[in-house]
């Protein structure tokens, strides 16, 4: 068994300091998830290069970065869609090897992908429970699944779907997002990963998803959310991680960032303001 990797290093070269930073994180507790030196190549394309990232339990970490920065690639690596080319991953302090989505699910990682990954030919209940159906004497227990689905959607105040027996192929983008999020929530996960959950949503549905993210973290569930929208990020995130051209250039408590520095990090990969804020905190 490997020892716990050291917590919470700001990886930004602009910061140039190490050691625990920030007030929100107890640096003695093991991180829920730690990535060390993760690299992922697609042939000649180096989509991820030497990524180090720590995700503490019960907090919302926002992963930001320009298009093509490698955000989706990073979460797909964590979720077992593919194995990293090299590097290691620690779950609650222990090294783990996540090679399939099933491995990730077993750890307690639930992911809502940008492409949602729902089956259009199945109804909402069937999608919510896909891969973990309730059974009674070995047979599908439709009634209990339908009741629980209805309850979950109600808890998340998703009121726009007419029937939970509607085929998912007939839902709007926002409704599909709601189903996908609800599905992740239902799995009693320790870490819920959301890839651009609000990208396709209108104002009120975006607010609902943000509320949902806050609800999750208040229940002690860690959330890793990718977003392009800095308003969303600053309204829900406890921590920020910035990616730039496949490298993770900076991560730390949200207090170390402001809007301008975040934009600077996203577009250029560095910011003196972050260093200054980190130093003053």
């Amino acid at each position: 068994m490997e020892t716990t990797p050291e917590n919470d290093n700001l990886t930004s070269s602009a910061v140039g300091q190490s050691g625990p930073v920030g007030s929100g994180v107890d640096s003695s507790a093991p991180m829920l998830l730690s990535l060390r030196d993760i690299t992922k190549s697609f042939g000649a394309v180096q989509a991820l290069q030497h990524v180090d990232l720590d995700i503490p339990a019960g907090q919302v970490t926002a992963l930001i970065g320009d298009n093509g920065a490698g955000k989706s690639t990073l979460i797909k690596t964590v979720s077992g869609i593919w194995a990293p080319t090299s590097g290691s991953m620690y779950w609650q302090g222990q090294e783990v090897h996540v090679h399939t989505p099933r491995d990730a699910t077993h750890l307690g990682i639930a992911t809502v992908y940008q492409d949602l990954a729902l089956c259009d030919n199945l109804d909402i209940v069937q999608n919510m429970y896909l891969g973990r159906e309730d059974t009674k004497v070995g047979l599908l227990d439709e009634i209990s699944m339908e009741l629980a689905t209805t309850k979950t959607l109600k808890d998340l105040s998703v009121s726009t779907v007419k029937s939970v027996r509607q085929l998912v192929g007939s839902l709007s983008g926002g409704q599909r997002q709601a189903v996908a999020v609800a599905r992740a929530v239902m799995r009693e996960s320790k870490l819920v990963i959301l890839d651009e959950p609000t990208a396709a949503l209108g104002v009120s549905q975006t607010a609902q998803v943000l509320d949902l993210i806050k609800t999750l973290s208040s229940h002690g569930i860690a959330v890793l959310v990718i977003s392009h929208n800095l308003n969303d990020v600053f309204s829900v995130a406890d921590r920020i991680a910035v990616m730039y051209l496949g490298t993770l250039v900076s991560h730390g408590p949200i207090a170390n960032y402001d809007r301008n520095s975040a934009v600077e990090m996203i577009t250029t990969g560095k910011s003196d303001r972050v260093a200054a804020l980190a130093a003053s905190n």
């Binding site: 992911t111 199945l122 009634i143």
Partner: protein, 392 residues
């Protein structure tokens, strides 16, 4: 019902109407068509299309196909016929067992090639069709009986030519109707008791009435005397085989996880994989089920033909089987279909086949009529779907 039709879930209403029109036409042209004897005959003729159709639905749901199913059936039939007769004299159950192991094994082989080597099932099973045709010809011709072997063993013979007694026929059909009605009512009642959307009473009664009338008709058809010289009554054993296979497959698809997963994989294989489903294991299972049921179809087929010959046309049989599934409403692109589609489609094809022979039209007209029905069925289905919001 109109709403369901527009939703693209048109059910089998159009095709059932089509079937009634066909039956009316044949009855006008030949008064024998709707006789109980001919209807029993028609149902026996349908068994091969229905069974092979069910075999294909397993793969069509995944967007795959097995073009070898006809000759896989032929091979299973040939193995059984040869082992019970001629020089071997095996007991029927060993012969049938080995035949089904062989057909399931070939299904598994295609599955391994498709999944393991990522080859298209169309090509793998096209090669399989040619290979199995060769194998069938080889083992049939090598018996030295001039290219055909007939059945002398009573169990194989009686699959089609043996009948339940009229009393057993009644008991079997009544129990089936009662069982289905009971499960309909029970499901609906337990949904209603938890305030879930349930079927209105009137529709429920209509469905049960439909089951009772259908069961009554079957009892009347099977139990009327259809013998010319000596009286013949009762339901042929082959019908029971179709019923059991259809019932079991429908049950697996609707009530068990593997069934649910096959739909999911057919709809979006990547989503199924991300949901933690062992996609390849279920795909392999579908290939094996296709092989197994093709084998069962082969046993019924050789019983009906009273033997096996080297002129068996497994290529045409499999196309009829795919046509049966599609006429019933199963999609070729995966994710959408039901086992019962093979029943409806198989009966439609047998009706054309049977009716055309009665009014003394030959094979050319029969092929053309089947072609028109197939085109008609997919057109109606596609039009119904276009008005719907369902993507596939």
């Amino acid at each position: 019902m109109l709403k369901r039709f527009r939703r693209g879930d048109s059910g089998m209403i159009p095709i059932v109407i089509g079937l009634i029109v066909l039956a009316a036409y044949f009855q006008i042209r030949s008064s024998v068509f709707l006789s109980t004897g001919n209807l029993t005959n028609l149902m026996v003729q349908a068994t091969i299309f229905v069974l092979l159709g069910i075999a294909e639905v397993w793969l069509l749901l995944l967007g795959e196909i097995d073009l070898s199913a006809g000759f896989n059936a032929g091979l299973a039939g040939a193995i059984a016929v040869i082992l019970v007769d001629q020089q071997f004299h095996w007991s029927w159950y060993f012969a049938v067992g080995l035949a089904l192991i062989a057909s399931t094994g070939f299904g598994a082989l295609w599955g391994f090639l498709v999944i393991g080597l990522r080859l298209p099932s169309f090509i793998v099973t096209l090669a399989g069709q040619l290979g199995l045709e060769g194998l069938v010809l080889w083992i049939v011709d090598s018996q030295g009986t001039g290219g055909s072997i007939s059945i002398h063993e009573p169990v194989l013979y009686n699959i089609v030519y043996g009948d339940f007694t009229p009393l057993f026929t009644i008991i079997f059909i009544v129990v089936t109707v009662l069982g289905l009605s009971f499960s309909l009512v029970r499901t609906n009642a337990s949904r209603a008791s938890r305030n879930l959307e349930s079927v209105p009473m009137l529709l429920m009664l209509l469905r049960i009435a439909g089951l009772v009338i259908g069961g009554g008709l079957l009892i009347w058809i099977f139990n009327s005397n259809r013998g010319k010289f000596t009286p013949i009554h009762g339901m042929p054993f082959a019908i029971l085989i179709v019923g059991v296979v259809l019932g079991a497959c429908t049950f697996i698809m609707n009530k068990t996880k593997p069934g649910r997963y096959l739909y999911a994989i057919g709809g979006n294989a990547e989503a199924a994989r991300r949901a933690g489903i062992a996609v390849n294991r279920y795909r392999l299972m579908a290939f094996m089920m296709t092989g197994l049921i093709s084998g069962i179809a082969g046993l019924v087929y050789v019983s009906n033909l009273n033997g096996i010959s080297d002129s068996i046309n497994g290529g045409t049989l499999v196309l009829y089987a795919v046509a049966a599934a599609v006429i019933g409403g199963t999609s070729l692109f995966g994710g959408r279909g039901k086992m019962v589609h093979a029943l409806i489609g198989g009966v439609v094809i047998a009706t054309i086949y049977n009716g055309m022979a009665l009014i003394q039209l030959g094979a050319p007209q029969q092929y053309i009529a089947t072609a028109l029905v197939l085109l008609g069925a997919v057109t109606i289905d596609s039009l119904a779907r276009r008005g719907s919001t369902i993507v596939k």
